[in-house]
Symmetry: C2
Subunit: 209 residues, 2 copies
């Protein structure tokens, strides 16, 4: 639960869960248990109840993502910090430090995060994509998915005052199953919390936990 | 600047910097250029201007930390996500996944993050400590420093509703140079942003950038 691995850690996580439930009770009324679990975990990892207001999912997001994660399909992430935080029995891919990506970014004057998405598509990526930092990666990903990249769902929570809000809004206009945080906020802990919550939901469905 | 490594990335970072300067202008009035640089970087990486209100540093924090980082002293961090985000020419140590730490946490019923601090102290750690997640690590660290662990400064920004605010408040009552975020908020991006901003300040003082 919540990434705790010792008895002491579990006690703290349980206490935190109770406080969060109280704090965001009104905001998660009417949501499914799965939606609530995801949002609680995001609020737990940010200590910021505003995430209960700004986290939005498309209707097909939870089933699509759980299907893919239960099938241990690959997860593609934008940056190493997000990769390190995810606990998954399948593969988590991150290409931002790949030599071909660094070269492509310089040659095409794109960010490395965007080039990493293009590289993944060129390698035939198929699975769930998590963008926790770079709006440019999310914009590129939307284009690639429209052009046929096999994306089961996108956890799109880039952060920042330049392009993040716009990139997330654009994602909601596509037919790709999505989770976003409206506005400039988001980031690594939000991306990691949402992904790990969904991995747990997939395991629960599979009867593993 | 701000971790960007391509021309495209630098353009975005520059635009972001201007927006942030406007957003928090009133809040950083009267701060030194070094303090402002640290706070701007935290707001950049969280897209949350509230960090300009809640980030607090002791008077000796910036000189102590810059001295240590300019001397390439070790940095100790609580979790791997923080380690991955830091760009440093010195060593960044993280013991949370060390077999001895995992054993110690179980035997003594502590969190792994706290056990990792005890392990570092037992190995004669000397340098700057960054706690981005676990209040239990910060509490343990304060005890260890009082008992003689050689800590140049602490970036103490654990996150959460259980113990985070209290642990940070306790840090401000010690004579250890500190940076904290008051209240429950904090986390990996805050820890990474503050640390990288200070590494840049150390390099600037050294004439490297």
């Amino acid at each position: 639960m919540m990434g705790a691995s010792t008895r002491k850690g579990e006690e703290i996580a349980e206490k935190s869960r109770k406080i969060i439930k109280k704090l965001i009770r009104d905001k998660i009324e009417g949501l499914s248990p799965e939606e609530s679990a995801i949002i609680e975990r995001i609020v737990h990892s940010t200590a910021d109840p505003e995430y209960a207001d700004i986290t939005k999912m498309s209707q097909d997001f939870i089933p699509s993502t759980i299907d893919a994660l239960w099938g241990l399909k690959d997860i593609l992430v934008d940056v190493e910090m997000v990769k390190v935080g995810i606990s998954y029995d399948g593969e988590v891919k991150c290409y931002i430090n790949h030599p071909s990506v660094i070269r492509m970014a310089k040659d095409k004057n794109m960010t490395r995060a965007a080039a990493a998405m293009e590289y993944a598509a060129s390698k035939g990526f198929s699975g769930v994509v998590v963008v926790g930092n770079a709006p440019t990666a999310l914009l590129k990903l939307i284009k690639l998915a429209k052009a046929g990249m096999d994306v089961n769902s996108i956890i799109g929570v880039p952060v920042g005052f330049v392009g993040a809000a716009e990139s997330k809004k654009l994602l909601t206009k596509t037919d790709i199953p999505y989770l976003i945080t409206s506005g400039p906020k988001g980031g690594t802990p939000v991306a990691v919390a949402a992904t790990n919550a969904l991995i747990n939901l997939a395991k629960k469905r599979g009867g593993i936990i």
